[in-house]
């Protein structure tokens, strides 16, 4: 290939850097704001940088507003959803990849068709059913579907990956007397770690970021997860400040938002290469 002109290279990097600045600007402003004092927020124009970074803000929201509670709730709900997804989606993907039964493709197509179904269609009957069971204001409506293979996309992704494993591996293991359960967890899953990891990350993002379901099913303040907790805090602060959003304690709001966003960034930093490649592969092949 021909060499690039230095001016072109310069423009390329200038664009990349400018774009990157725009992309991180909202996050940067969130973190900077979280470190300011209330007077710095109220000042006109507000201070650009915190004169003296207020790490205390994090302690204030953590203990003062029992924010650790929302955080632990989010961890618990996400953890249970991930566990259920792995325990039911891996066997289901195995069954659809390796077991020969009649109408298997039909069952699989039915399962996949639910990807087209908007949550709005199922939420009203489900809410009614969960209310009848007395499950509203518990974690069960959020967790139980995940323990029944609720992540259909995960089943799809895992099956696609499992199918690339030669059947002779499984037959050899069966000859050695291994049960299907053992073959799945000792042989197939360890061979498919990139796909499993992608499913775990997707499930984490989906459950950690979800506002819709916790908003509908959780009511007690001590049960809500971070996105709902953040909105509760904002609504409460609005009452305290007489509804003027100019008076909002934005420094504390942004502290809460940072606590919600940081775990996502932390997970992403560790898995980003694999995860992005998983997304790209899913889109190009799908």
């Amino acid at each position: 290939m021909h060499r690039r002109h230095p001016a072109v290279t310069f423009c390329l990097y200038a664009l990349l850097i400018a774009g990157a600045l725009v992309m991180v600007l909202p996050l940067g402003w969130m973190v900077l704001t979280s470190l300011k004092t209330y007077p710095e927020i109220l000042r006109h124009p507000p201070a650009w940088l915190p004169a003296d970074p207020q790490w205390e803000n994090y302690r204030t929201v953590w203990d003062g507003f029992a924010y650790y509670r929302f955080f632990l709730n989010s961890c618990f709900v996400s953890g249970m959803i991930i566990a259920g997804t792995l325990l039911t989606c891996c066997p289901a993907a195995y069954a659809f990849a390796f077991c020969e039964v009649r109408h298997k493709e039909l069952f699989f197509a039915l399962l996949l068709s639910t990807l087209m179904l908007p949550a709005q269609v199922t939420v009203i009957p489900l809410f009614q059913a969960f209310a009848t069971l007395g499950w509203v204001d518990t974690y069960l409506p959020l967790i139980v579907p995940a323990w029944l293979g609720g992540n259909v996309f995960g089943i799809f992704l895992l099956r696609q990956f499992f199918r690339t494993i030669p059947k002779s591996f499984i037959e050899a293991a069966r000859m050695d007397g291994a049960s299907e359960w053992t073959i799945l967890w000792r042989l197939i899953v360890p061979m498919s770690l990139p796909a499993v990891l992608t499913v775990v990350v997707f499930t984490f993002l989906w459950s950690w970021n979800d506002l819709f379901n916790p908003l509908i099913y959780l009511q007690s303040e001590e049960l809500v997860t971070l996105p709902v907790g953040l909105l509760y805090f904002i609504a409460r602060a609005e009452q305290l400040t007489g509804g003027s959003i100019g008076q909002q304690p934005w420094h504390l709001v942004m502290t809460l938002a940072t606590v919600m966003v940081l775990p996502v960034i932390a997970v992403f930093v560790f898995v980003q290469r694999r995860f992005i490649e998983g997304v790209a592969a899913g889109g190009v092949k799908g």
């Binding site: 066997p91 179904l117 908007p118 709005q120 269609v121 069966r174 290469r273 790209a280």
Partner: protein, 298 residues
């Protein structure tokens, strides 16, 4: 010892939970909500069959229904093309031989995976009329800002703008599509004297048209279902959900309000089914039209 019976047993044990979940959490609620959409159901009394009255009410008498349809369509028609153009532009940029490509790719991808509720809160603060970052920046240039988030004309554009940060998914899919384009084609075209634009227009675009279609379909479906962003925006701005003046009353938000704010469960079920049908029709149309512009190998 591997008989067909063993296979059947394994299948039902392994796929059983997922199939049970399909019946309990997808098929049954789907059919039940179809039935509810023909009922009056306000929770306090059992559902009562009323034929197509919910649908008639929505189409002829409910002003909030059409307001939410307008908001959602306006959002979709503007946001999806802009997001796809941004995604393709940055994918092309990252496709160039640059140093630390993985780092840049991760950085541009990141906003797509952050909670939309957090974005609504952060951007609500940035666009806020009273002391928001945007108005401060404008003031530096001597321009007087507005109360963007409180204006019926500006609230939706603000929401569109904040959703544009999340173009990471289509971007990495475009990037993978670009990487699959054979290099020899470009070199041949280069030798034939084709300029950069001609190469993009006549080689790159046709070859990545399948991923354009994929991103378009996914983008449209996601745009039609927006909820988190709009709900969190309303709370942040201390305005009734969908305000100001229904300017951000997204279809998903309107449906949520009807179902869980006013307990018009039958009406909300009808709205849900209209959304479902609309998504299927739009997706089918997208695929149908795509025959004219999507180019498949062989």
């Amino acid at each position: 010892m591997n008989t067909r019976r063993a296979d059947r047993l394994c299948f039902w044990l392994f796929a059983g939970p997922a199939l049970a979940g399909f019946l309990a959490f997808s098929l049954w609620p789907m059919l039940y909500s179809l039935w509810l959409s023909f009922c009056q159901y306000e929770v306090i009394a059992p559902p009562r069959f009323i034929g197509v009255q919910n649908y008639v009410y929505l189409f002829l008498h409910d002003p909030s229904f059409w307001a939410s349809v307008r908001v959602t369509l306006a959002f979709t028609v503007v946001q999806v093309p802009l997001a796809l153009i941004a995604a393709l532009a940055f994918a092309l940029l990252l496709h160039q031989p640059v140093k630390a490509r993985g780092f840049w790719r991760a950085l541009y991808f990141l906003p797509a995976i952050l909670p939309q509720a957090a974005y609504a809160v952060i951007f609500g603060y940035i666009f806020q009329g009273d002391g928001g970052l945007l108005n401060q920046l404008l003031a530096l240039g001597g321009i007087e800002g507005k109360a963007w988030t409180m204006s019926a004309g500006w609230a939706l554009p603000v929401l569109i703008m904040m959703s544009l940060w999340a173009f990471g998914y289509p971007m990495v899919i475009f990037l993978a599509g670009l990487q699959a384009v054979p290099r020899e084609l470009f070199e041949a075209a280069h030798i034939d004297g084709a300029g950069a634009w001609a190469r993009f227009r006549h080689i790159t675009l046709p070859l990545i048209s399948p991923v354009i279609l994929f991103n378009l379909v996914m983008g449209v479906i996601a745009a039609l279902k927006v909820f988190d962003l709009a709900y969190a925006f309303s709370i942040t701005q201390n305005i009734p959900p969908g305000g100001p003046a229904r300017a951000t009353l997204f279809y998903g938000l309107n449906l949520y309000q009807q179902a869980f704010g006013f307990f018009h469960m039958g009406l909300a079920s009808a709205m849900a089914w209209l959304l479902f049908l609309f998504i299927m029709v739009v997706t089918a149309i997208n695929f149908r039209i795509s025959r004219r512009w999507v180019h498949y190998e062989n």
